[in-house]
Point group: C2
Chain length 405, copies 2
């Protein structure tokens, strides 16, 4: 239980009482705005008279969206702070943690008010160039820095065990893996997808592949995952074109040790949603470019990990053939996890605005294409390539466009 | 640090002071024999005047074989006690834990003096029938009972994290995975194998496959493993023929959550050593029967797990196709781990008497065959079957017999 739940009026006194904060921002001239629009937490943007800014994020002991009748551990703030610290030491593409108060479960974070949420930009037709690749660098840096490639085995096992986050992981297990595939009361789709959802529910190969990915998520501990790396968990500012692109992953409260391909697969599925939305809106070149980011981000990921490879532990001079096999396994995993995300964001409880804000005709096209793509990504994950996924996405969209309604 | 290290003379007073023990055996008439012939611990066999018997096993803070200059955590006794308790509740084929003293790191165990070590029996040409199958039942019961098939996800994650055993696992990582394949001072073979060991050291595909199994061992948490299930970790008494066969796995101090295929693979490699030894000694029918135990034990394992399957958690009605895929993955893992064990017991620090007690000519045949089999098991693990492994074992032995020396 948090010592207390902050209000905007209490924030200046809170800042004044934290040595790590009161020198960074002036509690005496603070203006505070509560902006939490997520489902779980309070978020206060603080600015002082000299223009210095800071964000405070407090985990509540329940789901904010629902209220105290859905309790949820504030320990997620401990996991988020730990992930931000570890990831921030390995990559610049992570929101910076300034301070953590483990008694009130308050994180102090760099202010990113001049950034926008990547999904918001994508939905508005904004530039994506460079963002998937920066995120791939982040994931490769973390994959190397938190795995047995660079840690001793005993340290790795200790870190993985210390990072367990069972309550938050259970949400992922239910919402990403179980419910979309095996059925749940809280699933929903518009009528145009009813037939395809019934097909999913009667397709053991599709379901079994999803459950195999669930087993992988539950039983594989390779790296400290972000755990929820969709395009709504990324802040962006500027563009690669102007050379001032800034990319910051945030909100890693689902962080745990898990399979490397998980974050990559979540990201890929959300990029596929953005591309499918663009295609349905008639922006075919933009759709193609977005589908192409699976290839460019995978290329960035592999190059980055290969770049780290010579720094691997001296006692473990694994042959290069090992790295090739590892990358192949990571990619197959990532396709499988992308297949889970493609389905769950269409039929499960937590949907994406890319799809949900479309009119019924476009919803039918994008929803159908993403569900069919889910099956391909899952069942064929061991043999796919990013290019083949891009072709499959375009093909499913064309087929869904032509389908009688 | 243990409170004290027991001597035989101190055991009666120790038993008298433990409420869980003094009613089971009479401290006043106790005869105590120290029989520890393992590398790590003290083992006292206790008998009272009425013939009641009990075994006390105390973990020392160092490797007994080497002395205090090789320190080793006594926490292994905690892990062993926890594994015996969990496994014993799921299977009868486990040495029974009577009491555990976490302050002195003393386990009280059922006396199995009327049993013999399975490897000892095998080396003497004794009956193996039924033993691999009983062990396969044990592994299937544990695989079901300690995995997400029967535990809630949050409980599974909590149990896996609580079971970490990094110091003992590091021994496995070094001795089973790293050193035999990447080289180490403490490796050794007789001259007949020098050429083949040089081939291993120059074979990236063989090495990379072994390192992929190491990654799997480090990063997969599926079930509470025994962790060291070779034929020297199994007590047997009687025979399947007489209907009085008793099989008891013991010494699970390497227990940790790991991939289900690990224990099965360790066991299989040791059965292959027993079969190869029999072949080299001219007992061809016995060799064939021992090679055939991979198939019969795999069949038992799958039937047993399929038998548990309808009892899986009601909330998780995974399709049967999932079980098929899971079994296929377990089998491929088991072959890969068997390939590691086949090599490490030939070239690594900890060898097996099956091979080491052979004369030079037979050593060359068995060592060559087991090393070549290691490569097949590792590189082809995804496509092998138990029958094909049995054929490969027989084929490698014939080839090694014919080779000029």
């Amino acid at each position: 239980m948090a010592d207390r739940i902050l209000t905007s009026a209490e924030v200046p006194a809170y800042v004044a009482a934290r040595p790590a904060l009161r020198d960074l921002i002036d509690p005496g001239t603070l203006t505070v705005t509560e902006v939490g629009d997520g489902n779980l937490n309070l978020v206060f943007v603080c600015a002082d008279a000299t223009g210095r800014r800071l964000v405070l994020k407090q985990a509540l002991p329940y789901v904010r969206l629902v209220g105290p009748e859905w309790p949820m551990t504030e320990q997620r703030a401990v996991r988020e702070a730990a992930a931000l610290e570890v990831h921030g030491a390995l990559s610049e593409h992570v929101c910076k943690l300034v301070d953590f108060d483990p008694e009130a479960y308050v994180l102090a974070l760099e202010d990113l008010s001049d950034h926008e949420v990547f999904r918001t930009r994508l939905n508005a037709g904004g530039a994506h160039e460079g963002v998937p690749e920066r995120l791939a660098e982040y994931l490769a840096d973390v994959a190397f820095g938190t795995s047995i490639a660079s840690l001793t085995e005993a340290e790795f096992r200790g870190r993985a065990a210390a990072a367990i986050n069972p309550e938050l992981c259970e949400i992922t297990e239910d919402l990403v893996f179980t419910e979309p595939f095996l059925g749940a009361e809280r699933n929903s789709v518009r009528p145009a997808l009813d037939t395809l959802v019934a097909e999913l529910r009667a397709d053991p190969a599709w379901q079994a592949a999803a459950m195999a990915m669930k087993r992988s998520f539950l039983s594989t501990q390779e790296t400290l995952l972000h755990g929820d790396l969709h395009t709504g968990s990324v802040f962006v500012r500027g563009s690669a074109h102007d050379g001032d692109l800034s990319v910051r992953a945030f909100d890693p409260e689902f962080a745990c040790y898990g399979p490397i391909g998980f974050d990559l697969g979540m990201l890929w599925a959300n990029l596929l949603f953005a591309g499918a939305r663009a295609a349905a809106l008639g922006e075919s070149a933009r759709a193609e470019a977005l589908f192409g980011t699976l290839d460019t981000s995978w290329d960035t990921f592999t190059q980055r990990l290969r770049g780290h490879w010579p720094k691997r532990r001296a006692s473990e001079r694994y042959p290069d053939a090992y790295l090739d096999g590892w990358l192949t396994a990571i990619r197959a995993d990532a396709f499988g996890f992308a297949g889970c995300e493609a389905a769950r964001r269409t039929v499960g409880l937590a949907k994406v605005s890319d799809l949900e804000t479309l009119d019924d005709a476009r919803y039918a096209v994008v929803g159908t294409a993403m569900l069919r793509l889910s099956r391909t990504l899952l069942v064929d994950r061991a043999t796919l390539t990013p290019q083949r996924v891009a072709e499959a996405a375009a093909g499913e969209l064309r087929a869904a466009e032509r389908a009688p309604r």
